[in-house]
């Protein structure tokens, strides 16, 4: 159907409806005209997953392996808004017993908001 174009109002409304129904949500993308990929507009926290399940392309190949490697570098170096306790204001010591997340992740404190 790509070779068909809407030429009157009614056809354009049908076209818009179709796009609104099937089209991807691009409202929070920085560049709505960019090539369409699975997108996670503001990091993993906005899709309310615990984080680190998918990379910015929607896959897993871009994640650190093992995934725990990403824990500190993610939100300290990259400002990736990961779902971790607020280290700067409320829970500065939540990882003080865990220097290497891959090895010591069991020592990370539980945080109760």
């Amino acid at each position: 159907m790509r070779h068909l174009r809407a030429i009157n109002k009614k056809a354009r409304r049908i076209d818009d409806l179709q796009t609104a129904t099937d089209g991807d949500v691009v409202a929070m993308q920085q560049n709505a005209n960019a090539a369409q990929r699975p997108h996670y507009p503001m990091g993993c926290s906005i899709v309310f997953s615990p984080g680190w399940e998918v990379d910015s392309s929607g896959g897993t190949a871009g994640l650190c392996q093992p995934v725990e490697r990403d824990l500190y570098d993610c939100y300290i170096s990259c400002y990736w808004p990961a779902q971790v306790p607020d280290h700067l204001n409320n829970y500065p010591e939540w990882t003080s017993k865990c220097a290497a997340a891959t090895k010591d992740w069991r020592n990370i404190d539980l945080v109760f908001p």
Binding site: S57, A61, G62, D73, H87, P92, T102
Partner: protein, 366 residues
């Protein structure tokens, strides 16, 4: 040959011969939670750590004469000054004040060690919201331990970030000018950040230059006033992307571009051996599971690639080379430093440092 040129050549030869004898030294890298690790290059072992006072370090840099390490932390936009000779924390301070927080990105040190120049955002706490400023220039008074001056960037320069961990900026040897390397080289006065000059690279120098990428200023052998880096250009007809070497003499404001070959999607910055004859970088092509990571080595004299070798690059990493240029270090985003022989690019050691690294690595020759 004029007398000045002759003396310059003579001095360069002296420096070069001193650099050829560079010995293995010490690596410094910041890590979780408040530490700077020290690693002996000769034994390839962690030899100690320097505890920090404020917070997790985000970046570390040399001061001008490499007698101090300046660590920048996120909390309170803090700075911790470490004395290199004694390997001890000397002092710490925060520059956030009251309701104002600063988010700096990239630093350049003044020749007298008294000031840091940075690009930052100011986050101001209001009664019902946080207000984030436009990108700004700032001078950090390292003696008075405060922000000395903040100036809004001109509108046409309001691009995000200041070049990462110290990249993208250099101060002239006399301390009067600040050079910012991006799509153009913009020269600011360090007094008031007024634009003094602008060198539009894409016009007279090399057609289609898109961006210049210089190192983060942590090369232990880099001389003030001389900057060596990569540039990318895209020709306007068939849009072919090319990369090459860019050489800058900040004293004379002369620039030289030498194209090398087709661009990689990403490169990690150029690292040079002590004798400045060989360069190394890591190039990445592809995306996600299809990404290829390669070591590239260059003959700097002839400006040619001499070797390319694929390796298993971790998802995110940083790159540096040893004091003698014989090892390549892949580190960051984790607790291991992979060491590769730069002659063969085979891994010779995977050093577990027992903490997650959060900063760049500084190399102090022996």
């Amino acid at each position: 040959m004029q007398r000045r040129d002759f003396l310059t050549t003579l001095a360069a030869a002296g420096v070069a011969s001193a650099q050829k004898t560079a010995k293995l030294g010490t690596l410094f890298v910041g890590g979780w939670q408040k530490r700077i690790l020290m690693i002996d290059e000769a034994t390839r072992k962690v030899t100690g750590e320097i505890p920090l006072k404020l917070d997790v370090p985000r970046s570390i840099m040399w001061n001008e004469d490499k007698t101090k390490i300046i660590a920048h932390c996120q909390l309170g936009s803090g700075f911790e000054i470490i004395d290199v000779a004694t390997r001890k924390l000397e002092r710490s301070f925060k520059v956030d004040t009251g309701g104002k927080q600063y988010r700096p990105s990239g630093f350049a040190c003044s020749p007298d060690n008294k000031k840091l120049y940075t690009a930052l955002y100011t986050v101001e706490k209001k009664i019902d919201r946080f207000e984030i400023s436009k990108p700004q220039w700032a001078i950090i008074d390292m003696v008075g331990e405060k922000i000395e001056k903040v100036v809004d960037l001109p509108k046409d320069q309001q691009l995000r970030g200041g070049g990462g961990r110290g990249g993208g900026m250099r101060v002239s040897p006399d301390g009067k000018l600040l050079y910012q390397f991006r799509d153009n080289v913009v020269i600011y006065s360090t007094e008031d950040f007024k634009e003094v000059d602008k060198i539009e690279l894409s016009k007279p120098m090399f057609p289609g230059v898109e961006r210049v990428m210089i190192g983060p200023g942590d090369d232990p052998y880099e001389e003030r006033g001389t900057v060596f880096g990569f540039f990318n250009s895209v020709d306007p007809i068939v849009h072919k992307s090319t990369f090459g070497f860019a050489t800058f003499d900040l004293d004379r404001r002369t620039f030289k571009f030498t194209p090398v070959g087709p661009s990689a999607a990403n490169t990690m910055g150029l690292r040079l051996t002590p004798d400045r004859k060989t360069g190394y970088t890591v190039a990445m092509n592809g995306f996600g599971a299809n990404r290829r990571t390669e070591f590239w080595s260059f003959d700097i004299q002839s400006k040619q690639i001499t070797q390319m070798q694929e390796f298993d690059g971790r998802s995110r990493f940083e790159f540096n080379i040893s004091s003698d240029g014989k090892l390549a270090y892949i580190y960051g985003a984790g607790n291991t430093i992979e060491m590769y022989d730069t002659a063969t690019f085979k891994m010779v050691k995977d050093l577990d440092v027992n903490l997650d690294m959060t900063t760049n690595m500084l190399v102090l020759p022996g």
